[in-house]
């Protein structure tokens, strides 16, 4: 187990390095949002999700929806490292003609749904979970959403819906890094007390450190937390996590690292340039 955890820590570091290189090369943005979820994505793709890279359309697979579609780079990196497509294709991210667009887009092996406009993932996931429930399929549906995204009313429609239909095959993970696209969550639209909100909507709630891999693994292994209830993990995270000069800074929602910043970032991640 300890070995698995160390491997996952290493994997998360590799994913971060991919994301930094991809965003640097393409002069793209949303690097902070990728780094924020690197540990969660590593745990999902290397431990929690029942998927088969050799059969992306396996009917009984778990479905993963990146609702915060702007964190595409880190998920593309995970899919490539898991063998859904060649790692070298990551170099085409945001290049002309590439299928790896800046917001996650279906058609890429392993990507279930295109997102980018916020508040779409959870309603789609409710449909998937409902179909699996009614058809007695073992598939589970996992959605990774941002905190800022919870401003969208469509999410609250779905948050009302899931417990009504006892979708305990549904897991929502909130990347709670407390920064949204134009300010701190507390200053734009405060979500606190977020766990209480979900409890009031009849969800089974757990709060975790979104960078603590053993905690994430234990938590994801425990779904459904309560039979008959949808599960939500409020993952307390740090935007830009893993690269000190990017951490907890709104600017890294937008900026692309310079050559010098790239070198510093990779050095901090222990990766080759």
């Amino acid at each position: 187990m300890q070995q698995d955890i160390e491997k996952l820590i290493c994997t998360a570091r590799i994913l971060r390095a991919h994301a930094v290189r991809m965003v640097h090369r393409s002069r793209a943005s949303h690097l902070g949002s990728c780094l924020s979820v690197a540990d969660i994505v590593a745990c999902l793709y290397w431990n929690t999700l029942r998927i088969d890279p050799a059969q992306p359309a396996w009917p009984h697979r778990d479905r993963f929806i990146l609702s915060k579609g702007h964190a595409a780079a880190i998920v593309y990196a995970a899919l490539a490292e898991r063998g859904f497509f060649p790692v070298y294709e990551l170099k085409t991210y945001c290049e002309f003609g590439s299928r790896l667009t800046g917001h996650i887009t279906s058609g890429v092996p392993g990507v279930e749904v295109s997102t980018g406009s916020l508040g779409h993932g959870l309603p789609i996931a409710c449909g998937m979970a409902l179909a699996a429930n009614r058809d007695n399929l073992p598939s589970r549906t996992v959605v990774l959403a941002s905190d800022g995204e919870l401003d969208e009313g469509s999410n609250w429609e779905a948050i009302l819906f899931a417990p009504q239909h006892e979708l305990d095959n549904l897991l929502l993970i909130v990347d709670y890094n407390k920064i949204q696209s134009f300010g701190r969550v507390s200053e734009v639209l405060e979500l606190s007390p977020l766990a209480d909100k979900f409890r009031a909507f009849r969800w089974a709630v757990r709060e975790v450190d979104g960078h603590n891999i053993p905690q994430l693994l234990d938590t994801f292994a425990a779904i459904p937390f309560v039979a008959g209830k949808p599960s939500v993990v409020i993952a307390h995270t740090v935007k830009g996590k893993g690269i000190k000069f990017m951490e907890d800074d709104l600017a890294w929602h937008y900026k692309s690292p310079t050559e010098e910043q790239l070198a510093r970032a990779l050095q901090e991640l222990g990766q080759d340039a």
Binding site: S106, S117, P123, I124, G127, M128, A131, A132, E157, A158
Partner: protein, 321 residues
Amino acid sequence: MRTAFIEELVHLAEQDERIWLVCGDLGYSVLEAFADRFPQRYLNAGVAEQNMTGIAAGLALMGKTVFTYSIANFPVMRCLEQIRNDVCYHNLNVKIVAVGGGLAYGSHGYTHHGVEDLAVMSAMPNLTVAAPGDPVEARSITRIIASHPGPAYLRLGKAGEPVLHPADTAVEYGKSIVLREGHDLTLISVGCMLANTLSAHDKLTAAGYSVRVVSMPFVVPLDEEAIRAAVTETRVVLTVEEHGVGGLGAAVGECIARFGKAVTFVPLHLNRAPIKISGTQEQLRELQGLSAAGIANSAAEALKRRDSIPQNPAESGEILA
């Protein structure tokens, strides 16, 4: 028309267990026939059209053929981005059904007028856009969109629309139906304007004109062949729709422009300004020039205007200038 729809849907669902029906908390006294019969494939998503449409996309991604159902503009406007991103861009088997399209909810006020749907939905990729002209067309098109792969939009009337076709009329995907033959003028109707269009035909025929009536239930894909025939075989073309700008008139106009053949073309549609007063569907139609008499008058004027234009433009410097 909604009865024809639900009867056909129940019939289809008996044969195809992938068919689901998802409503936005509307459908009292209509949807029970499906809900009671197939409770495992029925869902009331609540007053939440965005979630309803996202759920439909999720179900379709799991292999279902999903009909979403609500009234007038509700299943179209609030959830338009879900229709675009989740349904159309993913080319999913989601069939969006709006009951009471146009001015069917006339006296309910303009929040309940579904009069921009054809324009908005025509802009969506992969989406079939249909508005049947009578219950026979409604039944047939329900069947067609259920089996045609990809998303579709179905604008229905409400209740009590007259049957205008023989019950065995065959409707084909993307095709129109000629109800009356004629050589002076073509009236092309979409959706529930068909009855008034046929009455206008009768008035014009009584006045001595030879009038073709085409029911064109599909705005997308458009029956360009029928439009080309109208342009080449009759002198004047009018489109008739219970809809504002950007609907069938725009589609047919664009098609005619591409043919590059001069024809007198009059798109009859609602004014751009919202209708702020109460009235029955027929009263509001009359106010907007879409009663049978209104259509006939517009047609007669267009014919007179056409007759005043020299048939060979080369003879008229004015036209060439």
